[in-house]
């Protein structure tokens, strides 16, 4: 089906996330206003105003009541999804890069960039049920990895936190003690910056995308490498279909060199791979800049991509897609 082009952001997209019901799509971009859209027809529902810098990331609580966003303005904010009012602001000393609610939405993990001599850090915050009781105290702060941490997500049962970033190593931390439990094997791990990390629906496995032109599938509990998907472009974004055994990789040539070459050279396609055979199934073209964000609707019947070009493209799959046999 024809994709729905959603033009609401003025700057490159950075992150996309569906709520659990799959009726809302939240988008973050380098302009300062995270936006919520109807996931069905791409109509804009509203924006969340209050950030004063590029918004890098967001997450939605299970009941779709709370939104958390992380921004380059050195804050993370909690919002009321329905009214768009900011409920609380977490202040940091450096830009926040990723946020993730835990199972049960009582905790959130927030990563901050290395900035002005400060090293990058992973913070765990308690999220109060009533915003009145919310405090900015960190339950735990983890430090150690060199360079930026691009993404940190909760492991199964909130027992661990999995992080990946510029040092191209995936790490598993104990979320209680802050101890480093596991590191990805040097041989097997990515060779360049890990740009994205996403969990399967049941949290059992993780998919990481890297600038080394590959994506890797890991077991969340043991951090064993399960699969490797090789592509022709640096990978900026990854997503897993909740319905079929498919994954999507998005990326493209570095944004800084895009203008110097033909748009065909950039390969700004979202590429579909078979999850178990690691073979490419197909691609969805359309963006005229690298793809920075990808998200699957929880029903697995549509997905959206956000690009450096400032567009969100919402794709509802044709029936043919569900009949693919390879």
């Amino acid at each position: 089906m024809r994709p729905i082009l959603m033009k609401g952001h003025e700057r490159p997209l950075t992150f996309l996330k569906y709520n659990r019901d799959g009726d809302l799509l939240f988008s973050c971009a380098k302009d300062h206003d995270p936006t919520v859209w109807f996931a069905d027809n791409g109509e804009r529902l509203g924006t969340y105003r209050g950030h004063n810098g590029a918004v890098w990331t967001c997450d939605i609580s299970r009941d779709s009541a709370r939104l958390i966003t992380g921004s380059a303005d050195q804050t993370a904010k909690l919002w009321d999804v329905r009214t768009g009012t900011p409920l609380f602001t977490f202040n940091f000393d450096s830009p926040t890069r990723s946020v993730d609610f835990s199972v049960g939405d009582k905790l959130a993990v927030i990563t901050t960039d290395p900035f002005m001599g400060l090293p990058s850090a992973i913070h765990i915050k308690r999220i109060a049920r009533d915003p009145e009781d919310q405090s900015g105290e960190s339950v735990l702060t983890l430090k150690g990895p060199q360079g930026r941490i691009n993404r940190a997500v909760w492991g199964p049962l909130n027992r661990t936190i999995v992080s990946g970033g510029e040092d191209s190593v995936i790490r598993v931390w104990d979320s209680e003690t802050g101890k480093l439990l596991k590191e990805s094997d040097k041989e097997e791990s990515h060779k360049k910056t890990i740009t994205s990390l996403t969990k399967a629906v049941d949290g059992s496995h993780l998919l990481s995308g890297s600038l080394d032109k590959s994506a890797k599938l890991w077991d969340s509990r043991t951090l064993k490498l399960v699969k490797t998907y090789v592509t022709e472009r640096p990978v900026n974004a990854v997503a897993m279909s909740p319905l079929l055994e498919h994954i999507v990789l998005g990326g493209g040539q570095d944004a800084s060199s895009v203008t110097t070459t033909d748009h065909r050279a950039g390969k700004f396609e979202a590429k579909f791979y078979d999850k178990s055979l690691t073979e490419e199934i197909g691609g969805v073209k359309g963006h005229f800049g690298p793809i920075n964000a990808l998200a699957f609707n929880p029903d697995g019947r549509s997905f959206s991509s956000g690009g450096e070009d400032g567009y969100v493209r919402l794709h509802h799959f044709d029936q043919d897609y569900f009949n693919i046999k390879i």
Partner: protein, 715 residues
């Protein structure tokens, strides 16, 4: 060394120049390249020290022997003569000429010492005057003073050299005996150099040999594929062997930049050019010719770059490579280079000039050998503002007899194209129009093998078309031309025969508006690839010239190179590292089917291993062509087997992957199930895993809307 300024001085001069030192970022200052402002860097200190050491030795002194023995009266005269000869070559040091005399007779001793300022000058003097004939009985014998030790060590008695027992070498042509008749190629990507089999049946290459840092700049196959040459700082080396690549021979030539094999791979030419110590001088060029098998230096040529730079432009520092072009077919009999107003032809028997003389040709600018015969084609441009016409002439070697000559008028440039069997020579002639403002192009076609070498003139239908590319069909009688204007030029095919008349050129076809700028004939002829490289983004058209039809159209985005394999069965298009993205190569069948695709970052080189000429006689080849069906049966069966095996393997592999995946999924499901309660606790008892909620139930509801009874009459 510049004087070291103290901090006070620095501050003082800064104050004087009105410069605020605190606001100045010293690291940001970049001196223009080559400018030192009198500050000598540490590196150059080192270099100077080296030079200093040279001066300590006697590298700049030569010994000239076989001078006439003269009495005292004639001493000054002789000294004058010697000084005159040797000061032409370089600056003789003050008191640098010393001719000892016999203290008793006051006569000279027949030798002298000359000290130059630099060892380079001394070396040049040795090269230039060794063997110089002062008169019949006095032929100079010049040696470096430093060589004296070497001569002292010569044993008095001659001892026969020890002959080594013969050890049979490896079969260097083992690769030709591959059971599957595959071809090899070499690729260079990153620091790795790999030799691979092209296994088209399996749709993948198979590694033969891989080595990191095998070469320092590039690799090159010898023309018959026996050797792989690598280039290093100390010289060149060739590698080969039956199974792996062992080093067979080294050729010492420091700072070697370029290499070239003779067509029969008997000789290797190496080239280096050295930055002159004095920037006003030209580069110093050294060219060595080695015997490939023994590694013996057969002849060396030294001189300034200017001497080698005549004819053609470009290349390294003005020298057009190869400087020496090989002639006489595969026997490597002759090699030639172009000089000022002359073409020097050397023979490999003596490594000297034929008849000890160069062929004098005023203003010759270009020449080329016939690929099969010892015939030279020479081009002399127009002179005297058109008074003397331009000329193309064919010269037989070694007799130096002119076979044919053609004068051409108002010519701006000529290019010579030989057909690979040496049967035809095409001369592309760019002529001025009457206004002399623009040029148009025509062809002069020579039929070398016919009596008196008839020449035919061919002009394009549209005379103003620019020629973008020209290519002969290998071993054939056809040629292809891309002509017209970008972006959509036309491609025309011509034959040197017209129907039954084999003495006339005819046009076969013109393809209009093709996105092509390069032509690549299959080595077997018949098929050609019209390629649009660079500006055309890698458009490819596979064309059958026999049937005059397009077999396939394809694209290899950004392709920079097209290479046919030596048998003409496969073709490779490559994107080398001139582009940052897309590096790698595609392997196509001859009819344009993409077989496989390999991506490699920093991809530098792709070269098919050439094959030597077939040993089959022409009759045998014809017989095979006639009974192709019979011969191909065996291979078809093999193909079938391989494809069966492949699909079988593929199925197996898929099955394995699926099973393995199912195991993972099962494990994950189990763990997920185990953790279910705990998860519920985390969610404050919300009984809630997606799976359960999304369970779809089909419910059938029957609703009774209305009941009515009706009596239907029964008649």
């Amino acid at each position: 060394m510049a004087d070291v300024m103290s901090m006070e001085d620095l501050n003082a001069s800064a104050a004087r120049l009105n410069v605020d030192l605190d606001s100045l970022d010293l690291d940001s200052i970049r001196l223009p390249a080559g400018e030192t402002f009198g500050i000598i860097s540490d590196d150059e200190d080192l270099k100077e020290e080296e030079d200093f050491e040279f001066e300590e030795g006697f590298g700049n002194i030569i010994v000239v022997d076989n001078l006439p023995v003269v009495p005292k009266e004639k001493f000054d005269k002789l000294e004058g003569v010697v000084r005159k000869i040797y000061s032409q070559i370089g600056v003789i040091k003050e008191d640098g000429l010393w001719m000892p005399t016999d203290p008793d007779t006051q006569k000279t001793l027949g030798y002298c010492f000359i000290e130059y300022n630099t060892p380079q000058e001394a070396e040049l003097a040795k090269e230039k005057t060794h063997g110089y004939k002062l008169d019949r009985s006095h032929i100079f014998s010049v040696n470096m003073f430093d060589d004296i030790e070497k001569f002292l060590k010569v044993p008095e008695q001659w001892a026969p050299p020890e002959s080594k027992p013969y050890t049979p070498g490896e079969n260097l042509q083992k690769w030709l005996m591959d059971e599957k008749a595959r071809d090899q190629f070499v690729i260079r990507a990153g620091t790795d150099t790999e030799v691979l089999w092209n296994d088209a049946r399996q749709s993948k290459p198979e590694l033969v040999y891989k080595r990191s840092y095998w070469t320092e700049s590039f690799v090159q196959w010898s023309p018959l594929g026996t050797y792989l040459a690598t280039v290093h700082r100390q010289g060149a080396a060739v590698w080969g062997g039956a199974t792996t690549f062992n080093r067979l021979m080294r050729y010492q030539h420091s700072q070697v930049k370029l290499i070239d094999f003779s067509p029969g791979e008997r000789f290797l030419v190496t080239y280096s050019s050295q930055e002159p110590s004095n920037p006003r001088d030209t580069h110093r060029v050294v060219i060595n010719i080695f015997d490939v098998r023994s590694g013996k230096l057969m002849r060396d040529f030294k001189g300034s770059a200017d001497e080698f730079a005549i004819g053609g432009t470009g290349g390294v520092s003005g020298v057009s490579w190869p400087v020496f072009r090989w002639g006489g077919g595969r026997e490597d009999l002759y090699f030639a280079r172009i000089g000022k107003n002359a073409v020097s032809v050397y023979e490999t028997e003596t490594f000297g000039l034929i008849d000890k003389k160069s062929i004098k040709v005023e203003n010759v600018v270009d020449f080329s050998w016939s690929p099969t015969d010892s015939i030279l084609a020479l081009f002399v441009p127009e002179l005297g503002g058109g008074n003397q016409p331009a000329r193309v002439s064919l010269v037989q070697i070694p007799s130096k007899e002119e076979l044919r000559q053609k004068n051409l008028f108002s010519v701006s440039d000529c290019k010579l194209y030989w057909q690979s069997n040496g049967e035809y020579l095409a001369v592309k002639v760019d002529r001025y129009t009457k206004t002399k403002k623009s040029t148009y192009t025509g062809f002069e076609l020579f039929r070398i093998k016919e009596r008196d070498i008839p020449i035919e003139v061919l002009e394009l239908e549209n005379k103003n078309d620019k020629i973008i590319a020209f290519a002969w069909e290998p071993k054939g009688h056809r040629f292809a031309v891309i002509h017209g204007d970008n972006p959509r030029p036309d491609v025309s095919f011509y034959s040197m025969r017209s129907g039954t008349n084999i003495g006339r050129v005819s046009k076969l076809a013109t393809l209009k508006g093709k996105q092509a700028n390069a032509l690549f004939w299959s080595p077997g002829g018949r098929f050609i690839i019209l390629a649009g490289l660079k500006g055309f983004n890698g458009q490819l058209e596979f064309y059958n010239v026999d049937e005059l039809e397009t077999m396939a159209q394809a694209e290899h985005f950004m392709a920079t190179d097209v290479e046919w394999d030596p048998t003409g069965r496969y073709c490779v298009t490559a994107v080398t590292s001139v582009h940052e993205m897309e590096n790698g190569f595609n392997v196509w069948s001859f009819n344009g089917k993409l077989l496989y695709r390999i991506l490699k970052d920093h991809f530098f080189q792709f070269l098919w291993r050439p094959r030597p000429q077939s040993f089959l006689t022409a009759e045998k080849e014809e017989e095979i062509a006639k009974n192709l069906k019979k011969y191909s049966k065996k291979y078809e069966a093999e193909d079938q087997d391989v494809s069966m095996l492949l699909s079988e393997q593929d199925r197996e592999k898929r099955k394995m992957l699926k099973e393995e995946w199912a195991r993972w999924i099962g494990e994950w499901k189990r763990l997920h199930e185990e953790e279910k309660l705990e998860r519920q606790k985390l969610r404050d008892g919300e009984a809630s895993d997606e799976e359960e909620e999304y369970e779809a139930k089909e419910v059938e509801v029957e609703e009774l809307l209305d009941v009515s009874e009706e009596v239907i009459s029964f008649d």
